[in-house]
């Protein structure tokens, strides 16, 4: 059991998300920084789908009510266990009564806090992820409040160890989002496409788990055509009539009606999770093969991490 001491409603229980119900209108949800979730669970020998806390509002404090191993990944943020600093992307071991504190990130926006055994909240439609819009999943379908207590599942048998990791993808440029052209890409005029790829875009204050509105140039379509509602995926870059792009993310509606200029590749969605309000972003066109290769490299990195952890905990 853990007890939440300081938090805000943007902090939620998340896991790999809730696929399989897009045709019932159920958003994918799940951790915004999926590789950070998978890495945190790998550090603890948890199942990949084990539930964690996604922290987007700081300071975040919790008290361990039992001895357990934990891991902190995602944004690079000052974290302490009873005042003793922990390195980033680190797994440690806490005794009952100890307090974990995480302060605003120096780099990034969202921290993943995982526990050996995973957070034990009921499965809803196959997932423990919070769907705040639908009001289900996670802890009673809402963000975490001070005083909330969360049960933690039985931990896998392993040696308590303290160690960290620095995954390869963290060395990439956090500002560059690789994209594939989407359905209405060719409907934008040449100037707009030049601006889309040439200019810096700023994450506006209108940014949350559903999506980010970007500030920058205005994108204009040469052939406006009213679209019927259609299914969309996280990473979809929509351009409404205002000409200001919106990137749809984990909690996005499953269908939309706005024109789509591009889609951020899955391997780069973590960069959006880690882009705070005011962050500067750039779009770079890649081929589908490059997008798949990037995803494969990331998954291979996670497999290697799991192998290393198995050795370290033996």
């Amino acid at each position: 059991m853990i007890e939440i001491l300081s938090t805000g409603l943007p902090n939620t229980v998340q896991d790999e998300g809730r696929p399989g119900y897009l045709d019932a209108g159920v958003s994918l949800c799940g951790a915004m920084d999926r590789p950070a979730l998978l890495a945190a669970n790998a550090l603890l020998n948890n199942k990949p789908s084990s539930a964690v806390i996604e922290v987007a509002l700081f300071p975040f404090r919790l008290r361990f009510q039992a001895e357990m191993s934990f891991a902190v990944t995602g944004a690079v943020a000052p974290a302490t266990l009873d005042g003793v600093p922990l390195p980033p992307w680190w797994t440690g071991h806490a005794k009952a009564g100890q307090e974990l504190r995480i302060d605003p990130p120096a780099r990034g926006a969202r921290v993943v806090v995982a526990f050996a055994g995973g957070i034990d909240v009921p499965l809803v439609l196959g997932s423990r992820a919070t769907d705040a819009k639908g009001g289900f999943g996670g802890l009673n379908g809402r963000g975490l409040k001070r005083g909330d207590r969360l049960a933690v599942g039985d931990a896998p048998a392993m040696r308590a160890r303290e160690f960290g990791t620095v995954p390869d993808w963290l060395h990439e440029d956090w500002q560059v989002l690789r994209v594939l052209p989407a359905a209405e890409f060719d409907a934008f005029d040449a100037d707009s496409l030049d601006r889309f790829f040439g200019e810096e875009w700023t994450v506006s204050a209108d940014a949350n788990r559903q999506g980010y509105r970007l500030d920058g140039g205005r994108l204009v379509r040469t052939t406006p055509r009213e679209l019927f509602s259609h299914g969309i995926v996280p990473g979809t870059v929509q351009v409404p009539a205002s000409g200001m792009p919106i990137i749809q993310l984990a909690d996005a509606n499953t269908c939309g009606g706005y024109p789509k200029i591009a889609t951020v590749i899955e391997a780069d969605l973590w960069k959006l999770a880690q882009a705070p309000v005011g962050a500067k972003l750039r779009f770079q066109e890649v081929t589908r093969a490059e997008g798949i290769a990037a995803l494969r490299a990331q998954r291979d990195g996670l497999v290697r991490l799991r192998e290393a952890v198995t050795l370290a905990r033996r």
């Binding site: 045709d23 209108g25 995926v233 269908c255 789509k260």
Partner: protein, 229 residues
């Protein structure tokens, strides 16, 4: 039904195939106006695509289909080939479905946009309600929000583009019009659609399997519970 010379299939209109990132494809078969016949084929294609190796989701939209797959398990080109192969010869799947009457409290605080929509359409509020309740609607797709129904069959005279500024919160149960589509809010959430009234019918329950009340192909009739000025 097998297509042959004596029972020609409806010609398949032009379509557009596009990428939605490395792991999804969007097949858009829409013409200028929504087609019930094409929609039946979209539902048939959705069912067929779920049988293709590596495909995890097939999401029917309004005369379009999003197919989601794991690009590390299946080459996207294979999913493309399956879509292009199946679409021209897919059997319509009319999904017999249920017909449900949905009781609506029109106007007043329950339907803040009813008068404006009537004025815009150049008719009385009574005529709007008459036209809105006269039609039988088809659930073309379920999506956007948990259990949200996209309804086809709206009287074209009631069509109205979405609001320039979406409302930050629209309550669960709001009966709405957006463009040429009708809909019902399954949860309280932002929306740019026009609100005609309210219903008590619950469209989504995560504790149920399936969680959504309606499936594509179901039919809905709106009936007047009350009208407020």
């Amino acid at each position: 039904m097998i297509s042959d010379a004596t029972s020609p299939m409806t010609p398949v209109a032009s379509f557009r195939l596009s990428m939605s990132g490395p792991g999804a494809l969007l097949l858009d078969v829409a013409g200028e106006t929504f087609s019930e016949d094409l929609q039946d084929r979209v539902h048939g294609l959705a069912r067929a695509m779920l049988g293709v190796e590596g495909v995890s989701e097939a999401v029917p939209g309004m005369n379009n289909l999003l197919v989601v797959f794991d690009p590390l398990l299946v080459e996207p080109e294979r999913v493309e080939d399956a879509l292009l192969e199946k679409w021209p010869c897919i059997e319509p799947d009319p999904l017999a479905g249920q017909t449900v009457d949905v009781a609506v409290r029109y106007g007043g605080a329950d339907g803040p946009d009813l008068e404006e929509l009537a004025a815009h359409a150049g008719m009385s509020v009574a005529e709007v309600i008459e036209r809105h309740t006269a039609a039988t609607y088809r659930v073309a797709a379920v999506g956007a929000m948990p259990g949200f129904v996209y309804l086809s069959g709206l009287d074209p005279l009631l069509a109205r583009p979405r609001r320039a500024n979406p409302r930050g919160t629209v309550p669960q149960g709001a009966v709405m019009i957006g463009g040429a589509q009708a809909g019902i809010m399954p949860v309280t959430a932002p929306s740019g659609w026009h609100i005609l009234g309210m219903t008590d019918l619950k469209l989504f329950d995560p504790k149920r399997e399936p969680p959504a009340t309606f499936r594509p192909g179901d039919r809905i009739r709106f009936v007047t519970e009350s009208v407020q000025a």
